[in-house]
Symmetry: C2
Subunit: 410 residues, 2 copies
Amino acid sequence: MPIIQSLLDVDFYKFTMGQLAFHRYPKIQVRYGFKNRTKAVKLAKIINPCKLREELDWTRDNVRTDKSELHYLRGTNEYQDRMFEEDYLEFFRELQLPDYHLEVIDGNLVLEFAGPWPSVIYWETMALAIINELYYHALIKGMNRFNQDLVFAEGKMRLAEKIERLRAYPEITFSDFGTRRRFSFDWQDYVVGVLAQELPRQFLGTSNTYLAMKHALLPMGTEAHEMDMVYTGIFHGSDDEIRSSHQKVLEDWWAEYGWGLSIALSDTFGTDFFFRDMSREQANAWKGIRQDSGDPIAIGEKAIAFYRSHGIDPMEKLIVFSDGLEVDKIIELYEHFKGRIRTTFGWGTNLTNDLGFKPLSIVIKIIEANGHGTVKLSDNLAKAIGKPEDIERFKRIFRYSGTDYTETKY
Amino acid sequence: MPIIQSLLDVDFYKFTMGQLAFHRYPKIQVRYGFKNRTKAVKLAKIINPCKLREELDWTRDNVRTDKSELHYLRGTNEYQDRMFEEDYLEFFRELQLPDYHLEVIDGNLVLEFAGPWPSVIYWETMALAIINELYYHALIKGMNRFNQDLVFAEGKMRLAEKIERLRAYPEITFSDFGTRRRFSFDWQDYVVGVLAQELPRQFLGTSNTYLAMKHALLPMGTEAHEMDMVYTGIFHGSDDEIRSSHQKVLEDWWAEYGWGLSIALSDTFGTDFFFRDMSREQANAWKGIRQDSGDPIAIGEKAIAFYRSHGIDPMEKLIVFSDGLEVDKIIELYEHFKGRIRTTFGWGTNLTNDLGFKPLSIVIKIIEANGHGTVKLSDNLAKAIGKPEDIERFKRIFRYSGTDYTETKY
C-alpha cells in the first residue's frame, strides 16, 4: 500500500494557508527545498531513492480528494463559520500536485517542489511523512518478526508513560503536531486514537486533517514560517519593503480568518522583531502566538512583558509551544507559566515517533518565492534557512541580535 | 472461537502415560480433581461457570483428532522409534472424552473428571488451559483497547528480557512446560514461536504437542505424579504393597519406553524415598530425574550424592528442574550445578503467563484410583494432595521426614 492515501493526510495549516494563497496570490511561484538537519544520517544510503520516487509519483498521480473529504473541509466551522469558501474547495477538488525534483548527491537527498504557491503548498507534510516512513521502514525491515513486535511494544509503553504523566496535570492541554515526523501513518493513527480515548479532555486535536476527520477531533493549525517567507518574496525590494511585508502577513491573515485562527508564529525573523512589529491593536485582537525555536521560557517571559507593556492581561492570551517537546518539557513549561499566561502544546516528533529509534530532524521549507531567495532566521540559528548573504541582510533588516545556536534533536 | 481446537493441544506426557495406561491398565477407573492453590481468588466469581461449561462441552463433544495429527504422533521417533503403537493410535483416534462434573461451592469451582484411566487422562492440561484462559480473559475484557494492548506490550518486553538474559548463557537449555498455566493459547503460540526463532540452540522444545507440531520442535515430557499415584490404587493393600508400587512404575515405564523417556519424577513420595527405592542398576540405566518441589539446590545435591554413592559420574546424568522457575532461578541453578551434574529446565507459568498479572496456581491431580484415595506428598507439603488420614499413612509408608511447607507462587 502506498503511504499517502488521502489528500487530507496533510497538516491542517496547509489548507488555511492554501486558501489564503489561492485567494490573494494565486500566481506567485514558490520553491520548497528538503533539508535533513540530522547530518550524521545519509538518507539516500538508507532509503532507496527508487522507492521514494514511486511514493512521490503515486501521490502526485493518484491521490485525489473525494466527496466526503470535501464535505469535511466545507463543514469545518470550529474556527470560523464556513471558513473554506466554495471557490477554494472547487480549486482543491481539481488540484493537480506539481511535479517534484529529486536527485541524490553524495548520499543526500536533494528534493525540491516548485510551482504556483496554492498548488505546491500541499507537498510539504506529505513528502516529509513519506521520507520518514520509508526511513523507519528501512530500519525495521531487517529485523525479525519478534524484534519488530518489540519496537511497537516499546512504543506503546512509552505512550502509556506519557499518558500517565499528563493525566496528573489535568489542566495541561495538547495537540498532535506529528504528521511530518511520524514513524508511519499507522502509528500516528494509533497514537491519535489512543489519546482521544485516554485523555479526552486534555488532547485537543491533531494537525492531521485526515485523522481529525477519522477520529472526530479538532483539526489543529494556523500558519507556518512560509507565510512570512513568501511575503518577503512577494513584496521584495528595499529593506523597508521587506521589513513591512511581515505586517502585511498579519493584516492578510486577519482579513482572511479573523479571530478564529489568530495565532501568530513569532520566530520567523526573531521574536524580538515580532513584538516590535505587532501593534497594540493587534496584540489586543490576536489570540496569541506560537513558539517554535529558542528558549521557550525566555520567549514566554518576553510575551508576558510584551502584553503587559500594552496594558493587556497575559492571562487572556495563549502561547502554543511547539518546539521539540517532550513530556518533561511540557510539564516544566506548564508549571512555569501557570497563572501567568495561558499555554497549550503542539507535540510533534516525540509524540508520533518515540519507539526507541533516534529521531530524524527533517524539514521542507520555502527557499524561493517570486524569484527571490527566502530566509528564516528563527530564535535558534541552527534552524536558520537561506543563503548566507541573504541571512546577513535579513539580520540587518530585522535588527536580529540573537546568538543562540543549538543543534536540534527534533 | 472455543479455546481448545485440537486434541494435540495437550501436554506430551499425557500421550506417553496414556499409551502405557492403555496397554497395561485399560480398565482402571480414576478420578481427577481440580484444585486452586491461590486461595485468595474465588474463581467462580471471576469466571462465568456457564462459559466454562460451554468450553468443556465443546472440548468433550467436538474436539477430535485428525489424520495429520495421527501422522504426527505415529511419526514421533525422537525418544524411541515408533514409540506410539498402532493399537494405541487407533484407540486415540476413536477416543470419546469422558464427561466432567462441575459445581460451584462458596465461589470455588469444584471440577472432577472420572472414567477409565486411558480415556480420562487427556482432560488435565486442556481443562487447566481453559480455566486459565477464561480467567485472564475476564481480567482484561473490562479494559479498553489500549490497556489491552499494553498487557501484550508488557508481555513482549518481559519475554525479550528473558531472552536477553539467557542468551548470555548459551549452555543453558530449557523447554516450555507452560500449557496448563498459559495466559491463552495464542500467547503460548506466540512465545513458543519467538523462542524457536531467538534461541534455537537453547530452546529445546515444548510440552505442548500441537505447538511442537506447528513449530517443528521437540515435544517434551515423560511422566507425571499421576503414574505413582494411580499405581498405589492399582496395587493397593498392605503398606509393603503400596510402597512397592513405586518400583513397579519404574519397571513398567522402562519396559514401555526404555532409555528414551527415562526421566523419573522424584518427589511424589519425597525424594529421599525415591533415592532409596531406585536400584543401582536403575540409577545407571535411567537418564535422570525431574525435580518438581522442595529446595532445588538441596535436591540436586542429594542427586549428586546418590549417583556418587552408586559409583556413577553425575555428569552422565540429567536433572530437569521444573518447579516455579524464573530466569534468575534458572541461572542460579545452572551456575550452581555447572560441571557437577547436567541440568535443563522445564519452564512453566512464568514463561507463558508473564504479562503483569499475578499468576494463578491451579492443578488437576488424581484424587482416586481403582476405588482408593490417592496421595502425593512431594518435597513441599504445601503441594501435598490427599485426605489427611491418607497423607499420614503415606508418610509412614514412605518414611517421609520432610517438614518443608512453602506456599507456591506458581
